[in-house]
């Protein structure tokens, strides 16, 4: 047996008081897919950045094929055959695939860039490793999955033998993610060794051969994937046993919100094309679908930042099709936005300011145009204790909160007023297990209290676990609803592929 291709020995890294990596050691074997599992903030990304030379470790060493890698130099890592695919792509949208791949790896001041050779090499790589992409295409025109392939090709083009992928499925829809893992398996057969970072248990179980679990910067477990289970991994990852809450069946009441034939046209991506649905008191309606099929447009219309060009939206009998966000808020509609950083909170404002931002015009939090600071702060303090928002005081800058705690703040400011309808758009995207369980529990509690909830989710497990009824969204059209308990994965898969339309078209 040959030695490990990559070896980490007692890596330590601190940022001020924060210990990001605490005495981390592990090895990567030839042809292995190693999953690095851990919650947000467990130190996974820091560790990979140390391997790749973006950060310098305070102590410890990295060895590639037994040779010491000089720290703090990405070029040394590349030369040693280590390639990294970042979570956020580093591609120039206005250049071609070819340009993006060769940029940085060819000498700057040479007139005759060897484009033909490069083109041939890329085509060869993409054939060998099963990464179909057209080198002449403009990156801006590619789908997210294709862009990721370009990123991988970029690493392979530089003759990487060890590939590190940081949260590779964060931006991918399920089928694309499955395709990616199939590709990765094929690549190990060609002699590559792969580390992928993840906090999703099911993909770790499905795709890896070995798992290293990080918690609080330390390695807390190392297992061969075959000898462990998702439940065991969840427990060591979180440090306690976390169970997602389950939905208790109960009868739903009168319809609260109803949409008929909503249409929205969008410049980019799918809009809505005659969407019809109804959500009742104490009911969660799940909208599932492959990303980019009109979920964004639906979310925008229901949160009031865009208006339908045709069709009608009624809330408790009142037409709310053309209401502004403020109009919706005043009527008791809670909205959890898809992108919590861009729409949910303003990072540079204090937690208390974000807590009351939607209700500045209410006489509870302002009078005569002046903000009632005492009331606002105590409202925020109440949210912090009731919704267990960690690491926050009312005066904390919101940017300092973790994603999960930010989401709890957004949930809290919506739920505190007992809304009758809640739009929950991808409420757990990017959150870790503990935070997901907390968000699910809050949504189910709101449901028990009689709220109507529309859940837009690309996570099928989540949609099935929470929803009473499910509709699939395909190219801006909604399927007929199915009762969640009666739908199996195959049926939902067919619905998400748009198969229902053929059934009804006849």
């Amino acid at each position: 047996m040959t030695g490990p291709v990559l070896e980490l020995n007692r890596i330590n890294k601190r940022f001020g008081a924060l210990v990001a990596n605490d005495d981390v050691s592990f090895q990567l074997g030839q042809g292995e897919i190693l999953a690095l599992l851990g919650e947000n903030g467990a130190g996974k990304t820091t560790l990979m950045n140390i391997i790749f030379g973006h950060y310098t470790a305070d102590s410890g060493e990295v060895r590639v094929n037994g040779r010491l890698l000089s720290p703090g130099q990405p070029r040394a890592a590349i030369a040693a055959g280590v390639g990294m695919v970042h979570q956020h792509f580093t591609l120039a949208g206005n250049l071609t695939v070819l340009d993006n791949i060769i940029i940085g790896s060819e000498p700057l001041l040479r007139p005759d860039s060897r484009r033909h050779e490069a083109d041939a090499k890329i085509r060869n790589l993409s054939r060998t490793f099963g990464l179909p992409v057209d080198p002449a295409a403009r990156v801006g025109d590619l789908s997210v999955g294709e862009r990721q392939r370009v990123e991988i090709l970029k690493a392979l083009y530089r003759d990487s033998r060890i590939l590190i992928l940081d949260e590779p499925t964060a931006v991918l829809a399920r089928p694309e993610a499955e395709q990616l893992f199939k590709t990765l398996k094929g690549m190990t057969a060609n002699g590559l060794s792969i580390i992928f970072i993840s906090h999703k248990l099911h993909e770790v179980m499905a795709a890896s051969s070995r798992v290293v679990v990080l918690r609080g910067g330390r390695v807390v477990a190392e297992r061969a994937t075959q000898t462990t289970s998702a439940a065991e991994l969840a427990e060591v990852m979180v440090g306690r046993s976390v169970k997602r809450p389950t939905r208790e069946p109960h009868a739903s009441g009168r319809p609260v919100i109803a949409a008929s034939d909503l249409c929205v046209s969008q410049a980019h991506g799918a809009g809505l094309d005659g969407a019809t649905f109804e959500v009742r008191e104490g009911e969660i309606l799940g909208i599932v679908g492959v990303s980019g099929n009109g979920q964004a447009a639906l979310g925008r219309v229901l949160s009031g930042v865009a208006h339908a060009s045709a069709g009608e939206l009624t809330f408790q009998g009142e037409d709310i099709t053309r209401l502004s966000p403020r109009g919706l808020i005043r009527r008791g509609i809670g909205r959890i936005p898809e992108d919590r950083h861009a729409e949910g909170v303003i990072g540079d404002l204090a937690v208390w300011e974000n807590a009351v931002l939607e209700r500045l015009d209410s006489s509870v939090y302002s009078s005569w145009g002046f903000i009632r600071r005492t009331e606002s702060r105590s409202f925020a303090a109440g949210l912090i204790s009731r919704f267990d928002i960690r690491g926050a005081t009312p005066a904390t800058r919101t940017r300092q909160l973790s994603g999960g705690n930010m989401q709890k703040l957004i949930l809290g400011r919506n739920l505190a007023t007992a809304p009758k309808f809640i739009l929950a758009n991808q409420p757990t995207r990017g959150l870790d297990e503990g935070a997901i369980a907390a968000v699910h529990a809050e949504l189910l509690a709101a449901r028990s209290a009689g709220a109507a909830i529309l859940l837009i989710s690309e996570d099928l497990d989540e949609a099935v676990a929470l929803s009473d009824r499910i509709q699939a969204i395909v190219k801006g059209r909604l399927s007929r609803p199915v009762v969640a308990g009666e739908a199996d994965a195959r049926m939902l898969g067919l619905m998400m592929a748009g198969v229902w339309e053929e059934n009804h078209a006849v």
Partner: protein, 349 residues
Amino acid sequence: MQFERRADVSVTLLVVAPLAAITVALLLCAGLIAAAGVSPITAYGEMLRGALGSRLSITETLTRAIPLIFTGLAAAVAFRARVWNIGGEGQFYIGALVTAGLGHSLFASLPAPIAISLLLAVSAICGALLLMAPVALRLRFGVDEVVVTLLMNFIVLLFVGLMVEGPLKDPMAFGWPQSVPVDPSLRLPRLVPRTRLHIGLLVALVAALTVWIVQARTVFGTEMRAAGLSPRAAAFAGIPLPRILMSVAFLSGGLAALAGSVEVLGPTGYVTTTMSPGFGYAGIVVAMLAALHPAGVVAAAIFIATVFVGADAMSRATGVPSFIADVIMSVSLLAMLTALLFTTYRIKR
């Protein structure tokens, strides 16, 4: 070398940053003064003496700071909401022109306090409209307000030239292109007898305090900051962006016009096309040095005024051209922009 965002920005850092920027600027300009053959210590000494060395020079410096406080507040208010008002100079001249035009005859029959208040209000509204137009263009058509407000400065200045050569020309001015003076009863009272310092200083300080209270304590202030920090999140939270930005334009344009109005009612009494040594543009520097804080605006305005008044004295005493004041101001701005980078980011190793 890479930059990473600081998790939190301490108040100390926000106070130290402008002081450090000014120190760096003065050190760099010391090199230029030395190159002109004068000891920087002597030169800066003359500058300080000229600006703050006597009762008269202090009042002169404060008089100079008054329009800078107004234009600085105008820029600070606008920038806070990411309305890039580069048109402070034009709004200044509109304020001055309206005040001179109406103050000559129209309001002279009213009691002075009422007439002065009316003049200030009407001038402010005219300046406000001058900025609301480009902001409306941005909201409606996506026109870049930086270009529009900047270019409008020249149009306004040429218009003022047209007026002081034509309808508003003072027949008693021996052919000089200046407007007829405002009625003497409407001139602002002196704060200190036998100096040029007038009660416009108090008006400016009240304006700064008002802006501070509005920004920190009111719903409008919070909405305005939210709109500047993240327009998308603000819109999602139900803040009506167009209305907020138009209100900001009203406030900012009005403040800049007040600078011109107060300058006419105070020291000059009439309008010329050379009455502003770039008060509008200097307001941008003042706002940046103040890190957009109203209290900082007052301090930064006094600093810039000190440099300009002191530079004249230094120039007379040492022969270093008074243009050094412009250089100090510009280098301070550049140093401050660099310092602001370090208050938000730190170097990552």
